[in-house]
């Protein structure tokens, strides 16, 4: 049996990067087909392929790290850099939508009535559900930190409790936002106000769902004894992502809900 003379991970050949790329292609072109020719087939196919790719690729990474021991300290360091760079790219993604919001709201055009919020727009009260949403996400930041310390101290039951609480808070946020979307007196078609509001908060909501899913996967892994008190990077990555989601919300709340009302 051959042994490697270094601590790095030379990954086995894998089909998932290709299936992921094909899935992304089918989803995007499928979206265009749906818009223009009213068929959802290509888009649905792309979505299924993407979901299958994510499941199998991440399953393989868990196998390589947790069960086969390939995630040595230098490998883990690389994964940390990777997650940090990814989150940084997401920060820039949201920066664009904040740019759009401030571009339109700092100098409202005459077509809107020369004011912000535009004439005819009834904004949401920032001190009702949006404030509750802020409290929910901040609370989930506290509970996820409780979870992290519990993992580091080898407290299995507390880890499970705090992680469950964090996920429940995440789901509560999503439910509240969905209700707000339905009850809002304005829609995405209500000029640039509607566009900036729903695109920025919509992408944020998508990231909450992604983050909650990531945490839920960590929850299942914790139940199955994947994490040790010294080595639990999957959880740390999920927690970083969750804090990022929380911070984006704080900026959304202050800019769009509060200042923009």
């Amino acid at each position: 049996m051959a042994h490697q003379a270094h601590a790095y991970h030379m990954v086995d050949p894998s089909p998932w990067p290709l299936t992921g790329a094909v899935g992304a292609l089918l989803m995007t072109s499928g979206l265009a087909i749906w818009f223009h020719f009213h068929s959802m087939t290509l888009m649905t196919l792309g979505l299924i392929l993407l979901l299958l790719t994510m499941y199998q690729w991440w399953r393989d990474i868990i196998r390589e790290g947790t069960f086969q021991g390939h995630h040595t300290p230098p490998v883990q360091k690389g994964l940390r850099y990777g997650m940090i760079l990814f989150i940084t790219s997401e920060v820039f993604f949201f920066l664009g939508f904040f740019w759009a919001f401030y571009h339109s709201s700092l100098a409202p055009t005459p077509e809107l009535g020369g004011c912000w919020p535009p004439t005819g727009i009834t904004t949401l009260d920032p001190f009702e559900v949006p404030l509750l949403n802020t409290a929910v996400l901040l609370a989930s930041g506290v509970t996820v930190t409780w979870a992290h310390h519990s993992i580091m101290e080898g407290e299995r039951k507390q880890t499970i409790q705090s992680l469950a609480l964090t996920i429940i808070l995440g789901l509560y946020f999503t439910a509240l936002q969905a209700m707000e979307y339905y009850e809002a007196p304005f829609t995405i078609a209500d000029g640039v106000y509607g566009s900036t509001f729903f695109v920025a908060t919509g992408f944020h909501g998508l990231h909450v769902i992604i983050g909650s899913t990531f945490l839920a996967v960590c929850f299942l892994r914790q139940i199955q004894y994947h994490f040790t008190s010294e080595h639990h990077f999957g959880f740390e990555a999920a927690a970083w992502y969750w804090h990022f989601v929380d911070v984006v919300w704080l900026f959304l709340y202050v800019s769009i809900y509060w200042w923009g009302s």
């Binding site: 077509e111 004439t119 005819g120 509750l132 310390h149 705090s162 808070l169 078609a189 209500d190």
Partner: protein
């Protein structure tokens, strides 16, 4: 920027609790969760409930502003004239509210 005394105390406590090796970090965050975070959520929930009660359920009168309810291209679902989260009670169509509206 000066911090309030409370904020200073909180900052010191949180810094101590964040030390990974320091025993009891988990206990500190557990306490914070049940004493600060979750009660904070409950207070906000109560606030929402009370504000909902105080609301009147009136919608503003419909004015066919050209900068709102834009329909450059129909949506790819339904009749193409209703947004994804359309609520006939609170969202008017370009021609006005759908239901007879109180």
């Amino acid at each position: 920027m000066a911090m309030s005394p409370t904020a200073m105390v909180a900052r010191r406590a949180l810094a101590a609790a964040s030390q990974g090796s320091h025993e009891g970090g988990a206990r500190t965050w557990k306490i914070l969760s049940f004493v600060l975070a979750l009660p904070g959520v409950s207070v906000c929930m109560a606030n929402v409930y009370m504000k909902m009660q105080a609301h009147s359920h009136e919608n503003p009168e419909f004015v066919p502003y050209p900068h709102l309810r834009i329909r450059t291209k129909p949506w790819p679902w339904g009749d193409g004239n209703h947004s994804l989260f359309h609520n006939s009670h609170t969202n008017a169509l370009p021609t006005g509210y759908e239901d007879s509206h109180h």
